[in-house]
């Protein structure tokens, strides 16, 4: 009996092994071959969040030009991903997340080295590129931003003019009044659009932190506080505005039926008053306005409605950072793609962003904004504390990079399940607990 059982178990074990061998053998061919020549060549897989540019052929053009520069490159496969953060995070549980990809926002600084190939010393790269601190850890950079953003609000100029509004609102309350005026002037519009269902546009709200107070050390300070949602601190202002604007019915009536592509159209045609998005959104909105028969001038950009010392501030920083999969088999070509993308592709110009290159120019569309607004570049965390913010953020369960955090605020503002103060109290309690957990 015993012997029989053992044999059974052995058989099972050997089946598993056989299956394993069989299946790995089958899948082996699917992956690209290792490029060891030291010269860019072979095939490359690029993951991008810009499904619209994959769709309209812009990326095909990039690929063609890249292959012209590097004739040994046989194939560049560009995968556009709609739910970029979610899907790439899943894929990062495996080795299979392309060769070149934008580093998801939820990757914490101390994880960078586990997933991404070092691109160089931060100090050295900084002579050429800006905003490296965000995706650097202990002096090594793992990603380079594709473009620089300033954080403001993209709005439809015609709609605001029609409501008789000409000046940028300077306080959240004034902003709320303005939105109410937009609604009064045309009850058919949604004064502000949150893009609740897609989720990721809500994470953009996080990057007004530091811009409200104009304090480049805001994040470094935040890790020392137990109550960032109090005393008029940036998070209280930002999330308070979100709560109020939803509670006062100034946002889309049914947030579960929102759609990103549609929101561009709606803003372009003046069915939406304003959206809180980085400056990267401007060209897409302008395009939508033009497509709908309007003009690029219908789209304007205003600062977050809060002033410190009588001046508007806006944070400036990198957009998505391109990095290289640490398990990539073609790192040389991947690196060539990143360098080519930053220098040759023309992406950052086409996106009306600030150039990630040190000597890049400020685009005309932003010149006006930049005139009235003082730009703030956030200071990096002091040495040894690079991952402190992320650690507290994760331990607290708030996770500012996750859309759920602000979706919940919207849920509560709509249903009244929690008052604004209760929301703040819960967030402060969670943050304090997170700080205690990581012994900050």
């Amino acid at each position: 009996m015993f012997l029989h059982q053992r044999r059974g178990r052995l058989a099972v074990a050997s089946t598993a092994v056989a299956l394993l061998a069989l299946t790995t053998a089958c899948s082996g061919g699917a992956e690209g071959e290792e490029n060891t020549t030291g010269e860019p060549g072979g095939s490359l897989t690029v993951l991008t969040w810009r499904t619209d540019l994959v769709e309209d052929g812009t990326f095909d053009d990039y690929v063609e030009r890249f292959k012209t520069t590097y004739p040994a490159v046989t194939d560049v496969k560009v995968e556009g991903i709609t739910d970029y953060e979610g899907e790439v995070k899943t894929r990062m549980s495996t080795d299979n997340y392309g060769d070149v990809l934008a580093i998801p926002g939820s990757v914490t600084p101390d994880q960078l080295g586990d997933f991404f190939e070092p691109l160089g010393e931060q100090a050295e790269l900084a002579q050429e590129y800006r905003w490296l601190a965000d995706k650097s850890f202990e002096g090594t950079s793992y990603g380079i931003p594709v473009v620089g953003n300033v954080q403001g609000l993209v709005y439809n100029t015609k709609v605001w003019k029609a409501a008789g509004l000409t000046d940028f609102p300077t306080t959240p309350d004034e902003f709320l009044e303005d939105l109410a005026a937009l609604k009064a002037a045309d009850p058919g519009i949604d004064p502000l659009y949150t893009n609740y269902k897609d989720g990721w546009p809500l994470t953009a709200w996080e990057y007004y932190r530091g811009g409200v107070s104009g304090d480049p050390d805001y994040v470094n300070q935040m890790v020392t506080w137990d109550d960032p949602w109090a005393d008029g601190r940036d998070h209280e202002v930002i999330d308070g505005l979100l709560y109020d604007v939803v509670a006062q019915g100034l946002t889309e009536a049914d947030p579960t039926t929102t759609n990103w592509e549609q929101s561009k159209q709606l803003l372009g045609t003046g069915k939406i008053g304003v959206m809180l998005l980085g400056s990267w959104a401007i060209p897409q909105m302008q395009q939508a306005a033009v497509d709908a028969g309007g003009s690029a001038d219908d789209i304007g950009y205003m600062p977050f409605p809060a002033q410190a010392d009588g001046t508007f501030h806006a944070t400036a920083g990198g957009d998505y950072n391109l990095g290289i999969n640490v398990a990539s088999k073609n790192k040389v070509t991947a690196r060539a793609w990143i360098d080519w993308f930053h220098h040759e592709s023309g992406y950052s110009e086409s996106q009306v962003g600030l150039s990630p290159l040190i000597d890049g120019a400020t685009p005309a569309a932003l010149a006006d904004f930049v005139d009235q607004v003082e730009l703030v570049e956030m200071n990096p965390a002091p040495q040894g504390k690079e991952s402190l913010f992320a650690d507290i953020d994760t331990a607290s369960g708030i996770v500012t990079t996750d859309p759920k955090y602000r979706q919940k605020i919207i849920d509560d503002a709509r249903s009244g399940a929690r008052t604004k103060q209760q929301v703040f109290d819960d967030l402060n309690a969670a943050w304090a607990e997170g700080r205690a957990d990581v012994d900050a």
Binding site: M1, H4, Q5, G8, L19, L20, T23, T24, C26, S27, G28, A30, T51, D52, V54, E55, K77, E79, G80, I81, T82, D83, E87, T90, R91, S93, T94, N96, N259, W260, E261, Q262, K264, Q265
Partner: protein, 274 residues
């Protein structure tokens, strides 16, 4: 009097149910033939201006990767169904025709496994599939479709039992080995079971979203369900095109259903009751 009333009630309820079932489908069909402007401007119940407007279908096919989606689905289907038939029939043959040590243990293992809903274990299964190096490969789907289908095994068990043992014995007398018996006698006599499994499983594979969503992100390998889902991203504001994509996924299954109605019903009734 009451008879007439019940008859009216009966037909009324059937008509209501049919309207509820068909209305959402009809509106999608209407939408798929409208132009973008028309879709936004007209009432959902307004029929399209021109039934000849196939521009949305063209877009869905050329830019939505629908054809590739169908091809990928077919590849996975053929491989998985072959695997399922062989696995199911082999299991059924061994369990029904032999008495051996551990037989009841094996039966118990299969019975217990029916109680474990597949989705609950995906977090852990993901690690195994990834460990096998199958993430982002069709083999992940084929393996999972083949290896976790216990219902099919039960269907085969039922049918193997109905194959007279005298057939095996006659073959043994002719000197056939077990493999030969399996392939020459058991499998051919399992045709009705195979038809049932092909239908149930085929529909399951065609409609499966969760597994390809989790395991197969590569746009070149996407089956029809994730292709349709991915299509929704960049075309989010063009519901007339999404409608066309939806209709495209429904038409093949509708045609097959109309052709094979009897088998489909039989498949589900026998599959469910056995």
């Amino acid at each position: 009097m009451t008879r007439a009333l019940t008859a009216t009630g009966k037909y009324l309820s059937l008509v209501v149910a049919s309207v509820v079932t068909l209305l959402p489908l009809v509106l999608i069909l209407f939408g798929s033939f409208k132009t973008g402007q028309e879709f936004l401007a007209t009432n959902p119940f307004t029929p399209p201006e021109s039934w000849g407007n196939v521009a949305n279908y063209a877009t869905a096919f050329t830019r939505g990767g629908m054809l590739r989606g169908f091809a990928n689905t077919v590849v996975v289907f053929v491989a998985a169904i072959t695997g399922t038939i062989l696995v199911g029939a082999a299991t059924a043959y061994a369990l029904d025709r032999f008495r051996f040590r551990g037989r009841s243990a094996v039966l118990g293992l299969f019975l217990l496994a029916t109680l474990v809903p597949g989705v609950t274990t995906q977090v852990a299964t993901f690690q195994i599939v990834n460990g096998l190096g199958l993430y982002n490969s069709r083999w992940a789907l084929i393996l999972l479709f083949t290896g976790t289908d216990i219902v099919s095994i039960y269907i085969f068990l039922q049918f193997v039992r109905a194959i007279p043992r005298s057939l095996d014995e006659a073959a043994t007398l002719d000197g056939a080995g077990h493999l030969r018996i399996f392939f020459r006698i058991i499998l051919p006599n399992l045709k009705p079971a195979i038809a049932t499994v092909v239908i149930i499983k085929g529909i399951g594979i065609y409609n499966e979203f969760f597994l390809p969503f989790l395991y197969l992100p590569d746009p070149d390998l996407r089956p029809i369900s994730t292709a349709l889902f991915a299509f929704k991203g960049p075309f989010g504001s063009q519901w007339e095109v999404i409608s066309a994509g939806v209709v495209i996924t429904i038409v093949p299954i509708l045609v097959l259903f109309l052709l094979l109605q009897r088998y489909v019903y039989n498949g589900f009734t026998s599959g469910a009751t056995k």
